[in-house]
Symmetry: C2
Subunit: 441 residues, 2 copies
Amino acid sequence: MSSVSNERNVTAPTALPHVLIIGGGFAGLSAARALANAPARVTLIDRRNHHLFQPLLYQVAMAALNPSDVAYPIRAILRDQRNTQVLLAEARRIDLAQRRVELDNGALAYDYLIVASGASHSYFGNEHWATVAPGLKTIEDALDIRRRVFLAYEAAERERDALAQKAWQSFVVIGGGPTGVELAGALAEIGRHTLKDDFRHIDPRSVRVLLIEGRERLLAAFDPQLSADARRALEKLGVEVRTNERVTEVTDQEVTLASGERLPARTVLWAAGVQASALTQSLAANRDRAGRVEVQADLSLPDHPEVFVVGDTAKMLSAGKEVPGMAQGASQSGRHAARQILAELRGEPNARSPFRYRNLGSMATIGRASAIAEIGRWKQSGFFAWLFWWALHIYGLIGFRSRTSAFLNWGWQWLTFQRGARLITGERPELPEIGPADRHD
Amino acid sequence: MSSVSNERNVTAPTALPHVLIIGGGFAGLSAARALANAPARVTLIDRRNHHLFQPLLYQVAMAALNPSDVAYPIRAILRDQRNTQVLLAEARRIDLAQRRVELDNGALAYDYLIVASGASHSYFGNEHWATVAPGLKTIEDALDIRRRVFLAYEAAERERDALAQKAWQSFVVIGGGPTGVELAGALAEIGRHTLKDDFRHIDPRSVRVLLIEGRERLLAAFDPQLSADARRALEKLGVEVRTNERVTEVTDQEVTLASGERLPARTVLWAAGVQASALTQSLAANRDRAGRVEVQADLSLPDHPEVFVVGDTAKMLSAGKEVPGMAQGASQSGRHAARQILAELRGEPNARSPFRYRNLGSMATIGRASAIAEIGRWKQSGFFAWLFWWALHIYGLIGFRSRTSAFLNWGWQWLTFQRGARLITGERPELPEIGPADRHD
């Protein structure tokens, strides 16, 4: 190591305990922040260099925001936290006995471990659907969905067969939770407003958007009245909502429902199921069907008080009730784990306390000016709820810069119905034939 | 075709002549715009859905701007031009005898053809360098370069061998034209300012940036005094400039010079040569070493007055002098070709006129607050030239939205030395081993 880098090293003596955090999402990041002044060496690893503000990722997929509006480099966020280092690395296996984590290349020992490796999509055993029905978890996912959506209109414009054209203009969203509702609303608006004057051979306004939910209502985590409001708002945007409906097959041509009905659609988005990160398979612990680790009341692993599992990777209970898999639960759980460690580092043994989830409310947005919000007993739907949603999310975006840029992008999009980021990048599949030779009808 | 789409068709009778434009860059787009009111059916095809403001593409590669700040959907730009359609398609071959263009799938006949398919990188016969020394022509190129640059710092942070670490912190830019100068200046600033506090095991300020130019001075198209000013400004930023120097080998480990000197560097960027689009190979016409088609004075093809070749695809002369391959030459040539067609469509035969290039001046920027400008006999370097460059480029960005967003991104970056868009996306290669097991020194 050169002398230059030595003088920049973390000043804490190496004898300090090492706290290793896996994952730079809401849970991991809030854990790291809570350890800012801890008498410990803290290492946060993530296989990506950026923290992602996942509640707004669908806006990138729908071309309203840029990737850098919703993502920010983790090392820039933790830059001034001198007891903490950030490493770009992927955790492959956790060795509880040896207290070490094996990485893509190398390994790290720990005294305390916080597992916050998040979740990915689950196709409930139909993993082959992944290629035709992408889910939305990463920036790459969002750009892939954006490419598919806008390519579908390009393909429709090239297509001459009316039925085939219609299939390119049909979008199916599977899963009626907040993400599914948000995607369906945005898809309808893209056709009806954003693209309405851009084509010559198709009418983008004739877009068909289907939202399919297995349960009896959308947004099952919300009050039934708000679910009904959301459904009405979606239908007003032109979305066909199907509840109590199960998907049995998905191909790149159509979606088949349990009823036998077949929906011709070339673009299918998956917002139905999640599954805890595969990393948890190396933990000798009980896991539920979604792969989430069952943790103790203090969020530690049974028989391993030095290991915590938090966020979407854990099945967390608070006062006997399951904690929903949202940003606030993740943040709170990461902070809780860090505080347990902090107390021990400060010589307060037996200071473990059970995790208490504080529900700050839930929201979902439907299109450009409507939302539902449920905060304690306060329930609201419509434009006012949307304004509230908007202010809260702008505030939540990390870093002033992202906030201003997102504010501006949204403001402009809202005023003009445009979506500035609708670039098609990356590979593209074969498109319909252009012809006859002099087509310009 | 459905009735819905029929009622939205172009209203001009199909008997009107068909003008086909290949390429939505500066040349093709300005040709299409000049035909806005022509008695013709106009079709513009491009294999991408966006026009790219190439003079600012390096800012995307250097994480200062977002892709959508410098790119805008072609069909949105031409939305209100009712005699024009835009198709996402790739031209594969031009059949001059049949007057048709074969596409990736299908074909289009034409009465007039404007070939504006641009240029790509040329590695002067060393095409295997492409994988280790990417050039900068597309949004994908820019994101690839961004990934490589910021991954290099991540790799250096993981690396423990001092020499290997140094190679990750060494960047070589090959080619001392405007793009090479701009990339080298930005690379130096990223290490010295943007990232300076972000790492624990390396000092980003010790970054090494080499700029290699085969000719005796940088920016050979400019006045020698300005070249010298630019060199001084780069050296002040810490860039090592090597002129009169040729590269003989490039690998993912090092760059070898004609002198035999070997420069260990894991990141190499190519800004040296361009080559006209391969599409021109199907034209029976003389082409120069860079593959550019030799055109008549009016920019048409010899023996084919109905075919024009413009922009980077053509070797264009104006008053006996070669037209430089820049945005203004491309725009002017596209407009000129369109006007020749327009005159004939309006029944003014023998109205062909020779192309006259009007040099509006050239500029190049060096880092965050310096530039050189040469406009006629007015020559300027330093901060004032930079301000002028900046105002001109903000103005040049298509669409108010891109302009505001870019303005904001730049303003913020300038004030804080930050680069908000430094996300690493896409695949990443294997990184150095992390270890010993408890590394946190």
